[in-house]
């Protein structure tokens, strides 16, 4: 009998906090500047400089801690993590070890309809390192220290996940949360949200964990799943062929879809942490905590429940529409502006709007159609000025131009024909001109009716109400 394996996964996620200046200096954190133009004396680790902690970074860490129901340390300490690498000019990273600012919280994820609670061991503040560029410098390495000193919140989960799917669900949930809280822009391509995964396997039923490998820097949801699944397979293979998993750091290579060893963990991790004498203990008062608590936005789960209750949405569209704060705000603005049924608005949002954004590769914040202009369109659908079919035409024009729905309807003469007499004349004309389909329909082929409706809609340039046309046609034919 073959052994059944269970996977154990814990994630460490580095989120860049969306402050304007760095965690310990007044240099800008803006992405994409010319190399080293945002690296000041503190970031360069020049002698005699003193780090001074950014209040906003502390506030953001506390915001996160409150949102995951965590313990906020009344007293936390910065430590030096010592290692040598040229993108870290001081020879140490300022981080937190024994007394992190956030401890012991949790996040609920949903996988296959089941809710699972994932523990968050801790979240601590630290500074990011610079970037090394290894190409084209005559055998030397180029160092850009603009990123050095950017505030990071490292969020460490408990080893509570049992599959790559759960790990991805957790990562997505956390990504959604930090963006809701507006403490991180979540831009994975620019490295604002980075993930390391600790993965091990053990025979089902075994209480102790297997030896784990750490997979570094996996920067997309897709790669996290692939990298973890690959690593699970590798470890099972190693064990089943009589070998032992070594505790080590591995790097995921997306091109080859494999992980490979970076270094042996034992020799690399002698960081010799000690409290940083340049920084005093950070004290978070109850008052400070209360102030932050008062500014917490509505969290994703609460918003979703509200959308279900307030707008009568189903689980699926509520999940979609609350997947980001921007999208939820957009939707609520449309409902409010248009005054139309919430259902009509959510159908358009989850269907046409998200479809068009997807196709164009745009975020909701970049939508060429504003909530006001979409609301203008929905109003005209709701009051029967245009048919649903014509509305799609108008939406295309909204998307590709700047006119309002009313202007487009007016200019293109798209107003629905409400004059029954006019429609009746066209229906009669089409019946007369199409004896074939008429006969087919009368002999029981219902499909033939569609052809006739199509003809009529064509004659009216889509301006008749298809429901009414249908009804009128049947009445006339069966009449």
């Amino acid at each position: 009998m073959t052994t059944q394996w269970e996977t154990v996964i814990g994630l460490e996620i580095h989120t860049q906090l969306a402050t304007k200046s760095k965690i310990f200096s007044g240099a800008s954190t803006a992405y994409g500047a010319e190399p080293n133009t945002q690296a000041c004396a503190v970031d360069l680790g020049l002698p005699g400089v003193l780090p001074v902690l950014n209040e906003q970074a502390v506030r953001m860490a506390v915001t996160f801690g409150l949102a995951i129901d965590a313990h906020i340390a009344p007293h936390s300490v910065f430590a030096r993590k010592n290692y040598f690498y040229p993108d870290l000019p001081k020879g140490y990273q300022i981080s937190q070890m024994d007394l992190p600012i956030v401890g012991n919280g949790h996040l609920d994820i949903e996988v296959d309809g089941e809710i699972k609670r994932i523990g968050i061991t801790r979240a601590h503040l630290e500074e990011d390192a610079g970037k090394s560029l290894h190409e084209n410098f005559h055998g030397m390495t180029g160092i850009d220290l603009n990123r050095a000193g950017t505030p990071l919140l490292e969020i460490v989960s408990e080893p509570d996940m049992r599959s790559a799917k759960e790990a991805v669900a957790y990562m997505r949930k956390l990504h959604e949360l930090v963006r809701y809280l507006e403490i991180c822009d979540g831009n994975m391509q620019e490295g604002s949200f980075r993930c390391d995964a600790n993965v091990s396997v053990r025979p089902i039923g075994q209480a102790e964990f297997g030896t784990r490998a750490e997979i570094k820097n996996i920067n997309s949801f897709k790669f996290v799943e692939k990298a973890i699944n690959h690593e699970i397979e590798r470890q099972i293979e190693v064990i089943e062929s009589g070998g032992k998993v070594v505790q080590e750091t591995r790097l995921y290579d997306a091109n080859k879809d494999e992980t490979r060893s970076m270094r042996s963990k034992e020799e690399a991790n002698d960081y010799r942490y000690f409290p940083d004498p340049d920084l005093l203990p950070v004290v978070i008062s109850d008052e400070f905590k209360e102030i932050v608590k008062a500014t917490l936005p509505e969290l994703p789960h609460a918003k979703k429940q509200r959308f279900i209750e307030q707008y009568g949405q189903d689980e699926e569209s509520a999940t979609t529409l609350t997947s980001s704060r921007e999208l939820a705000d957009f939707y609520e603005a449309v409902v409010k502006d248009s005054g139309v049924e919430a259902k009509l608005a959510s159908n358009w949002m989850t269907g046409d709007v998200l479809g068009a954004l997807n196709k164009a590769g745009l975020e909701i914040s970049q939508s060429p159609v504003s909530p006001e202009r979409l609301a203008g369109l929905l109003k005209r659908i709701a009051d029967n000025t245009i048919s649903g079919r014509t509305a799609k035409q108008v939406f295309d024009k909204l998307w590709n131009g700047t006119a309002t729905a009313d202007e487009i309807i007016e200019q293109e003469g798209l107003k629905q024909i409400t004059d029954t007499g006019a429609i009746e004349a066209i229906v009669d004309k089409v019946i007369a001109a199409n004896p074939g389909p008429v006969e087919q329909y009368l002999s029981g082929k219902d499909k033939a009716l569609m052809a006739l409706v199509g003809q009529i809609m064509k004659e009216t340039q889509g301006k008749a109400n298809p429901g009414e046309v249908n009804k009128m046609l049947i009445e006339k034919l069966k009449g």
Partner: protein, 95 residues
């Protein structure tokens, strides 16, 4: 507690300190003496003393999140051994 010559060499390597082979023994002795003092101190009962992370009994002051530093790259790079395209150049760190 006593440190071996190998411990001393390892610590020196981690801190990237170049030490002379002939001095290793005396470093080992000195450092061991310091550790002995720690051991002696840890015999004291500190149950009612909360640990301090800093000798000053003060708390960290926070600065507002404002960009106050501006580009002084040329100034800083004037003292760098080698620069190119705005980057600091260092000996190659990966293969």
């Amino acid at each position: 507690m006593s440190l071996t010559a190998n411990d001393v060499k390892k610590i020196a390597h981690l801190a990237r300190l170049g030490i002379d082979e002939q001095d290793v023994e005396s470093y080992a002795n000195d450092l061991s003496g310091m550790l002995d003092l720690m051991t002696q101190m840890s015999e004291l009962n500190t149950d009612n003393v909360s640990p301090m992370a800093h000798p000053l009994d003060q708390i960290q002051r926070l600065r507002p999140d404002v960009v106050t530093e501006h580009n002084q790259r040329e100034h800083f790079q004037a003292i760098a051994p080698q620069v190119e395209d705005g980057l600091y150049l260092v000996p190659k760190v990966i293969e």
